[in-house]
């Protein structure tokens, strides 16, 4: 029997209407459960009853946003598939950050450096600042600031949870209110996919271990060489051992001693011998030129696990006197390569899957002049470097050498001469390469750069190495601003105009005969240290070696 057309039409209309009803019901449910509606209700409610409700409005809205974000994360797997009409444009991911999408955030918040927020001591902030934009958090604003700044990494430092700072006693049950605050930060960060790290660099309340962090780092995060370094050490510094205590029982050292509790570069620099009980103190004391005796094993320090060896090692260190320049160079090299803060920080970031480049400051362009000597020798010297350059810029006539330098980007300068090489370089710092440099040349230069933050590093001619071969020997009689020391607590006198007499060790100042080797690319066009100094650039002189 042929179907009645009218009946068919009516059935089709009924089906379409049922479908429409279902769609409308689904959309109504979504609207009623939506944050948007609740925001509207909150706004209307506040308008109707100003006073207390108005005061609470920003907080209520903020909480709605936060709740929405957390709900999204938790219930994603449980949420039914949205009706087709509600499907968002493919590729657009809603973000909890101030209501912007992920793509919009990329436009709104460009950043050139890693952003680290956290529970940090002032010392840690100072140590991290060259490598990241650091945002210290206070308990009452932690969650809000964390959301606004959207850090790449949240760092909770145990040392900041002891003592006297805003997060003191975090982890102790008497400070559960503080723990509640930091847990909010942790939850918020993890919702956004930002890792949270507990940095256990000091004994702290055991409750810290219960924080739901993504990773725990034990011990020191590395020595900040821009704060602790052997620049312009006083060769007459005291041989009275400095006992640095972090643990509950200080090491017992016979004889006169000085004491320190906090990490202060100035204190470490005043003493040629340090007795310590932590890795952190040992590394800092080593960086400041001290002979170190440590109750815990630390590379470069004499290990003294008991009272007898402590007395013996301390006496030996005092008797040995200050380190020679060569000894200190070895110590500083090792610290730079293995124990400096950017090294350990880069390793941590790598483990966390973050690409933020704290070692970017160690990138340098090596500019090879035509007078650099035999190409094969040149290539061998560059391949032997313990710190590889970010790129090598060759003059066109040495283009064939590129094949001898595998693994390193090589750029050919189209123009001739030094200016052409400089113009072709990409990194902010360049090295003028001359033949006969040892395998640690680049490492030593960049280490000196990291320690000093100078605009240029020059190598002192060997005949002007100073008095008696002692490490960082006596400064020239002018002794002063050439000691432009950047360590905390000591002034940086900067470079002075004019040339100076020969000094020894690492020291600021434009000295006569100084060979500029590493410099800012914008200074490199004219190799005139005196002119640089007159222009205010800071030049660090280091011994040849």
């Amino acid at each position: 029997m042929k179907p009645d057309p009218e009946l068919v039409r009516l059935r089709r209309a009924l089906r379409e209407r049922d479908g429409r009803i279902q769609e409308l019901a689904a959309r109504l449910a979504a609207v009623e459960g939506s944050v948007t509606l609740r925001v509207g209700q909150t706004l209307v409610g506040a308008a109707r009853r100003p006073g207390r409700r108005m005061v609470r409005l920003p907080r209520d809205l903020y909480r709605l946003w936060r709740t929405s974000a957390r709900t999204d994360v938790r219930e994603t797997s449980e949420r039914p598939a949205p009706a087709p009409s509600q499907t968002e444009a493919p590729g657009t991911v809603p973000s909890p950050f101030l209501g912007l999408t992920e793509e919009e955030r990329l436009l709104v918040a460009p950043r050139d450096r890693l952003v680290i927020a956290g529970v940090l001591t002032p010392e840690a902030v100072a140590a991290l600042e060259p490598y990241a934009h650091v945002v210290p958090l206070t308990p009452h604003a932690a969650e809000l600031v964390g959301d606004l700044r959207d850090p790449d990494l949240v760092l909770i430092q145990a040392a900041a949870c002891t003592g006297h700072g805003p997060w003191a006693h975090l982890g102790d049950p008497a400070a559960t209110d503080r723990e509640r605050r930091i847990r909010e930060v942790i939850a918020s960060s993890q919702i956004r996919g930002r890792p949270v790290v507990l940095w256990r660099d000091a004994p702290a309340a055991p409750g810290l271990r219960r924080l739901p962090v993504d990773e725990v780092v034990e011990g020191d995060l590395g020595v900040p060489l821009h704060l602790y370094n052997p620049i312009a050490l006083d060769p007459a510094r005291s041989r009275v051992p400095l006992v640095h205590t972090a643990g509950p029982r200080p090491p017992e050292v016979p004889g006169p001693v000085a004491h320190a509790v906090r990490h202060e570069p100035a204190r470490f620099r005043e003493h040629a011998v340090a007795v310590v009980d932590t890795e952190a103190a040992a590394l800092r004391a080593l960086a400041c030129g001290a002979r170190v005796v440590s109750t815990v094993p630390v590379p470069g320090a004499a290990h003294a696990p008991d009272a007898a060896s402590l007395a013996a090692e301390t006496a030996a260190a005092v008797g040995a006197g200050p380190r020679t320049e060569e000894e200190q160079r070895e110590v500083t090299r090792r610290l730079f390569a293995e124990h400096a803060l950017p090294v350990r920080l880069a390793a941590l970031l790598s483990r966390l899957g973050l690409d933020a480049g704290p070692l970017a400051s160690r990138r340098v362009s090596v500019l090879v002049t035509p007078a650099a000597g035999d190409p094969r020798t040149l290539a061998a010297e560059l391949r032997a470097q313990t710190l590889a350059p970010a790129e090598i810029v060759l003059p066109a006539e040495l283009g064939a050498t590129a094949s001898e330098l595998p693994g390193v980007p090589v750029r050919l300068a189209p123009g001739g001469g030094w200016e052409g090489l400089v113009a072709a370089a990409r990194e902010p710092y360049v090295v003028r390469w001359t033949p006969g440099r040892g395998p640690h040349a680049l490492a030593d230069l960049l280490c000196a750069l990291e320690c000093s933050g100078a605009d240029a590093i020059g190598i002192r001619p060997p005949e002007a190495a100073g008095n008696g071969g002692t490490a960082n020997g006596a400064l020239a009689g002018e002794g002063l601003a050439a000691a432009g020391i950047r360590a905390a607590g000591l002034g940086d006198a900067g470079a002075r105009g004019g040339t100076r007499g020969p000094a020894a060790g690492w020291a600021f100042g434009a000295e006569a005969g100084l060979e500029p080797v590493l410099m800012r690319r914008d200074l490199a066009a004219v190799l005139d240290p005196a002119a640089w100094a007159r222009g205010g650039a800071r030049l660090l002189a280091i011994p040849g070696g």
């Binding site: 100003p50 006073g51 207390r52 108005m54 005061v55 609470r56 002032p122 210290p136 206070t138 308990p139 009452h140 002891t162 003592g163 006297h164 700072g165 805003p166 003191a168 006693h169 982890g171 102790d172 049950p173 008497a174 400070a175 559960t176 209110d177 723990e179 509640r180 847990r183 004994p203 309340a205 055991p206 409750g207 271990r209 219960r210 924080l211 739901p212 509950p248 029982r249």
Partner: protein, 796 residues
């Protein structure tokens, strides 16, 4: 807190002792820590003067613990299963489930009402709280609570809140647990008290010499308790030249993780130098342990944050054993930060044994520390604490006042009260001959219960007093809660007016106006004036002729009141604000001498800006100083934030915090809440930089917590606080603070502060004064005194 010198009396009948019901969700057939706890608490309550009924959870299969209790006079054991009190369908060898226990306890209480119920166990406490019968009588001992915020669910929080509201006291084993509970469940604030472990005296131990060093471990065998690692100690010590054996006592071996139980049992039974004694009676355990040289309580670091103190450590100490254990803040508080036998690894344990064996003085020091610590956890100490809690929960009854014309009446009436009110300076004082002539005759209080009504819109400043009044035998209390300062249910107020013998109006506002105009003949009417009322129109609307006494919180405000209102001098008396000194008296956290504190910063007359000046001056000298502020933020008070001058003042303060590098990270705003006692542990100085205050309770609360007060000279400050704490300006305040800290005198000042406030403003003292006023026994106020004479006595 003075000790009771008499048996705690029941609120119902002054003639009989307090009846305590005790129940623990524990099986006394197993001799473990919880069973020992239950037995010890029964004994301690009995020592404190209570008649104790102890209800057993499980049928008695072994009476090693119950038989000695049953033999004690004043202790009654109830065996629900044997007595047929449990439903037949619910009988189980494992004992009563919580809901059955709650019903059984209700039934026992129905037979013979008890004054309090000490209950251990969260689940049974929740059942009891839900049932409601024991509301206000529960003394709840919670151990099975979440140990961290991460373990706390909303459901658990609600349950704990319900339990707290039903409890008179929350008995906390440690200060850590108490602080944690107060900060997660506000309802526990003010009622959480300490009941540390009770270590029964060990049985006599005969020590004999032995050629090897003996280590002992007692307890469960579980991964976090490091018992498997411990079995490696004899070999490790042998390698270090120390002959040693390890005695393991216990028979509970954990099954997780898979394979652990097998490995553990193999190690116990097959490792040279390890002697496994299996499960033993408590007496035999103590005897075996007493014959050893070191007790082991080294555990995995994941347990370092536990809120509970291992009783095992104390039991070892009671036996004279030095204990090797983890370094934690709790253990450092117990044994000292320089205790020589802390260990974080197996190597540390071995090294500790080696060192203490090689140097007997090390072992002796450790043993002495442990033994000394254990002595603080005696049965006598527990009984002393319980007496103090009983004294507060069951105060002396109010007595009828004879017609009084001489000072002797006042002295008699004061007998049995805390006798230190005579030192309370300008506040109402007792029994001074010089004031005898001022005592007026007061109406005789009838023998029937004294009916007291407290009326007002905001009673938060009276919570401690109200709690006391509710507990005083011979007194009935009703509240007339006004909806707002000027809004009330007039019919309800009339009903209260008709019912009450005495009405106390909290705040000299509209409530006082109404009651003064509607006072019933023969009724006694008291009005408490704080501060702001004096600058409004209400005092002039009050019918002062109907008012028997106007209570001011400070001598200064009493004088101001008289001056501004012209009210009869004898009607204006001073009763200071109260401070719960016992609740606030807690150990300080390390570094607190560098932390300033402010409680309440709004409105602007509290002068947050001046506090920042103090902080900045201190931080110029030492960056360790910080300021903790416990307060609502000004924008949370609409009536403050809408005032331009307030907004401008606070904005300037917050902008300064944002921009001044000297104050960077130096100020923390902690949330407003009742957990003041826990918060004050981190504060070493409480500032009062206000332009004007009537009393300013915050410094007094701080003093009770050992925080040294630092006050600017607002009018009348020296009538409340010792002038030694008052400074001319912020710079002078900062200099004084720095001088004390740098001079190493902070602890001494802290102790003096505690003493002063306890002498003058303790809750017990103020309660007694209020009770005197309510019963009409208070003499007329003395003549006003010079503001140079402080209320809180200066140190001699």
């Amino acid at each position: 807190m003075s000790l009771l010198t008499h048996m705690p009396l029941s609120p119902e009948s002054p003639a009989r002792p307090v009846r305590a019901l005790v129940y623990g969700d524990v099986d006394l057939n197993l001799i473990d820590g919880s069973a020992i706890w239950a037995v010890s608490v029964v004994r301690a309550l009995r020592e404190a003067g209570c008649e104790v009924t102890f209800v057993l959870k499980s049928p008695v299969r072994t009476d090693r613990l119950t038989a000695p209790l049953a033999a004690l006079p004043g202790v009654t054991l109830r065996r629900p299963r044997e007595e047929g009190l449990t439903p037949r369908t619910r009988r189980s060898r494992r004992g009563m489930p919580p809901h059955v226990a709650a019903a059984v306890l209700a039934g026992i209480d129905e037979e013979a009402p008890h004054d309090l119920l000490v209950v251990r166990g969260r689940r049974v406490s929740a059942q009891l709280a839900l049932a409601g019968r024991f509301a206000g009588r529960m003394w709840t001992y919670l151990t099975d609570v979440p140990q961290s915020l991460g373990d706390l669910t909303d459901g658990l929080r609600r349950e704990l809140d319900m339990i707290a509201r039903a409890s008179r006291y929350l008995l906390c084993q440690t200060e850590e647990l108490r602080c944690f509970l107060e900060q997660i469940v506000p309802a526990t604030c003010g009622k959480s008290v300490l009941l540390p472990p009770i270590v029964p005296p060990p049985p006599p131990v005969v020590r004999t010499g032995h050629p090897v060093v003996r280590l002992v471990y007692t307890g469960k065998f579980a991964p976090a308790w490091k018992t498997l690692e411990m079995t490696g100690l004899p070999a490790r010590l042998e390698a270090a030249g120390v002959a040693a054996e390890l005695h393991m006592i216990g028979d509970k071996v954990h099954e997780h993780p898979p394979g652990y139980a097998r490995e553990m049992r193999a190690a116990l039974s097959g490792t040279p130098g390890v002697i496994w004694h299996g499960g033993q009676s408590r007496e035999d355990t103590m005897r075996l342990a007493g014959g050893c040289d070191f007790g082991l309580s080294w555990r995995d670091e994941s347990l370092d944050a536990s809120l509970e103190l291992s009783t095992k450590v104390l039991e070892y100490g009671a036996l004279g054993l030095p204990v090797i254990l983890n370094r934690t803040p709790m253990h450092e508080a117990l044994l000292g930060s320089d205790y020589p036998l802390y260990a974080a690894s197996e190597q540390d344990v071995a090294e500790a044994v080696r060192r203490a064996t090689a140097d007997p003085s090390v072992r002796r020091l450790a043993a002495d520390r442990c033994e000394s610590a254990a002595r603080r956890f005696s049965l006598d100490e527990a009984a002393r604490r319980l007496r103090s809690y009983l004294a507060r929960a069951f105060p002396a009854p109010v007595r009828a006042t004879p017609r009084a014309t001489t000072a002797q009446a006042g002295q008699t009436a004061r007998a049995g009260q805390v006798g230190q009110t005579a030192q309370a300076g300008q506040t109402v004082q007792a029994g001074q001959t010089a004031r005898a002539a001022q005592v007026r005759a007061v109406p005789e209080v009838p023998a029937a219960p004294l009916k007291v009504a407290v009326a007002g819109h905001d009673l938060k400043f009276l919570t401690g007093v109200l709690e006391h009044l509710r507990a005083v035998p011979g007194l009935e209390l009703r509240l007339d809660r006004w909806h707002a300062l000027n809004r009330h249910d007039e019919a309800a107020s009339r009903e209260v007016r008709d019912w009450a013998d005495v009405v106390l109006c909290e705040w000299a506002g509209p409530v006082a106006v109404w009651y003064s105009r509607h006072k019933r003949p023969g009724q006694r009417l008291l009005v408490r004036l704080h501060r702001f009322e004096l600058y409004r129109r209400w005092p002039y609307q009050i019918d002062i002729g109907a008012v028997d006494a106007v209570i001011c919180v400070s001598p200064h405000y009493a004088r101001l009141t008289r001056e501004r209102t012209g009210w009869p001098r004898e009607k204006v008396v001073t009763v200071p604000n109260w401070v719960d000194v016992d609740q606030l008296d807690r150990p300080k956290l390390p570094g607190s001498q560098y932390r300033l504190g402010m409680i309440g910063i709004a409105p602007m007359r509290k002068r947050l800006d001046l506090a920042l000046d103090v902080l900045a001056a201190l931080r110029r000298r030492d960056p360790r100083y910080t300021l903790a502020v416990k307060s609502k933020l000004p924008w949370e008070y609409p009536w403050i934030w809408q005032r331009p001058e307030e907004r401008e003042g606070f904005t300037a303060c917050f902008e300064r915090l944002r921009r001044d590098p000297l104050l960077d990270q130096a100020v923390v705003f902690d949330p407003f809440g009742p957990d003041v006692a826990a918060w004050l542990r981190r504060v070493g100085w409480v500032l009062s930089t206000s332009d004007d205050e009537s009393f300013h309770l915050a410094p007094a609360e701080g003093m009770a917590a050992g925080a040294v007060p630092a006050l600017l000279p607002w009018p009348g400050v020296d009538t409340i606080y010792d002038p030694r704490w008052v400074h001319e300006d912020p710079e002078a305040m900062a200099a004084a603070i720095a001088g004390i800290v740098e001079g190493g005198a902070w602890e001494r000042e802290s102790a003096e502060a505690r003493r002063q406030v306890r002498d003058a403003y303790a809750l017990d003292t103020v309660n007694a004064l209020v009770l005197d006023l309510l019963t009409g026994r208070a003499p007329a106020p003395e003549a006003p005194r010079s503001s140079a004479r402080p209320t809180v006595p200066a140190a001699s």
